[in-house]
Symmetry: C2
Subunit: 360 residues, 2 copies
Amino acid sequence: MASSTEGNTRPIRLADIAKAAGVSHGTASNVFSRPEIVREEVRERVKAAAEAMGYAGPDPKGRLLRAGKVNAIGVATTEPLSYFFDDPFARAMMAGISQACDATGAGIALVSAGNEEKLAWNIQSALVDGFILFCIEGGSRLVELTRERKLPFVALELGFDDDTVSAIGVDNVAGARLAAQHLAELGHRRFAVLALPFADGSTGLVSPEKVRTALYTGTRDRLVGYFEAFSRYGVDTAGIPVYETENDEASTRAGLETIFASAEPPTAIVAMSDRIAMIAIEWLAARGIAVPGDVSVVGFDGVPDAAICDPPLTTVAQPIAEIGRRAARSILDFDGTVRRETLGVELVVRASSGSPPKTA
Amino acid sequence: MASSTEGNTRPIRLADIAKAAGVSHGTASNVFSRPEIVREEVRERVKAAAEAMGYAGPDPKGRLLRAGKVNAIGVATTEPLSYFFDDPFARAMMAGISQACDATGAGIALVSAGNEEKLAWNIQSALVDGFILFCIEGGSRLVELTRERKLPFVALELGFDDDTVSAIGVDNVAGARLAAQHLAELGHRRFAVLALPFADGSTGLVSPEKVRTALYTGTRDRLVGYFEAFSRYGVDTAGIPVYETENDEASTRAGLETIFASAEPPTAIVAMSDRIAMIAIEWLAARGIAVPGDVSVVGFDGVPDAAICDPPLTTVAQPIAEIGRRAARSILDFDGTVRRETLGVELVVRASSGSPPKTA
DNA sequence: AGCAAAATTTGAATCGATCCAACAAAGATG
DNA sequence: CATCTTTGTTGGATCGATTCAAATTTTGCT
């Protein structure tokens, strides 16, 4: 009722207001992108026309095509989107990524898809300048898909031997060594390992065979670290049960059942993630097994939750936020080179680890 | 070295491979977007050319301009980006939004900016089909800015009287009434209210004046609900201290100091958010004031954390995820109408509320 | 007024795809 | 053999802006 152009069907373009104001596209464009170079009188006229016609401002879709840069970075995973808001590790990582993006004014686009087909499409059609990949399950496929986009990308956790992909991760061997050594120094000699996946879709006790052919080198490296430290203390690593979990409740519990069904259950558990460790603590508590009185538990990751669980978790802390910041920056100021960074980790001793029980 | 086009500076376009394969760009386009309609022999030829030239696939930037739809929804706030991963309420909301987006394969773009100027730019240039607005502080400005984009958008929490903006929220009056009534029924008669902001940037005890002119109607409505229930139980609401916080630790503590400096401190606190309530519980515990022995606390929101804090928080639970899902869907299947939905809330009684102390 | 320098404005080219009406070729039908 | 289908291919138009060399207008100065 107010303006006469009510009920219009097509959104107003820059060209429309240029015509209305009696100037060229070029000038109209300048009014919005570099107002200082157009004469005031003209500028006001164009702005007035825009106002009158209900122009929404230069459409970023158009600008984008010309400019080439989206000014957003994509964060991708094969997990559902809610993973980014649920998982403590992901959240800590996102906090770091957010910081770097905030600092430069870049946006974040969350990309994910349950099924393979949708994932491919989502990766292919994401409007971003580069990707940060959360390589959980199906990480190799994710890398493959992303590589086809020919955009800069960086994998979180050096899950791959492939030296042609940029990655940021931690020294898994050293970190695992720290955890194992800590327990050995406390006097433990009977251990069990709750591992992350060695390959997609399998769980259960793992053979040395499997370890050697592990798809995920991160998992393998942590195991190597554990075993290195154990051997140094004279423990026969061949006798240590290594149970491959899927980093979830079901498989971790199954692993614990298996491990504690043994005649000589361990006095210490090394878990390859805090998630696993916390599930283990809960399981042990439910069985009336004291932590760390009867069994000590050491995690890996250093997620914030680990500090406030009961008992607080001894763990190998990764600089999660820092990894996130670096990952984001490596995309934001991409220089065309492959970059593989390895950050240090730190043993954080809390209350979930202690001396083994006397009676053992 | 392998292919002759090494060291090229310009990325390969669809037109390039069309020429190389000796077909029109129309056909080349079809090879990628509707492969079934092009003859197999041609299709293979084009694909081979693409492969050989290292074509990254149709660039979404180009497609976008033509198609018009981005297939992503923007979630905006004036808080820093990390807010989405830190704040429990935001996280629960994002989980709901994620679900809806996952279901339709839409992406999520996070938009935020500390300062006004960047915010404006980020909103203006976000590549999205619509916005979901987290109207925390500075919500009105956010709405204004977003309105200019002329894209569908929906405000979370009906923070505004403005009937021209779509919004999804809960019945604040009813929810608050529930909380207050619960406490009154337990026998409490001396109350204090820890409120959310009535307007930007102010804190402290609020006058009835301020309540009437509240910018945020959500805050006002909750207060109305509280007072309604209190009056029904014969409590003089004029005597109830209402302290406006900024929903953070500092202002909440300041509020508690003020409230408990009184000669007749309350036996029950109604907090307008779980965040405030949990901060209050912590503050009370630190003072040696038992919850709910000496003072009962009731929150608002129903964030997941409220169930696991100590003591578990009695609160008015909003269907947070459901709000998120609806918000996302209202953008995804936008029909051009303004929609204002009000969802119901539910009182969840846990351990932070009980009878008032006998001695009081 | 006359002219060079400075300030503005113009309009065509470009970004990278998709869409579609028109056309061509091959196959089916009477 | 002429005509109608069916199946594939073509090339121009379009999406909505930005850019830049060239054209035009202003301004400054003598």
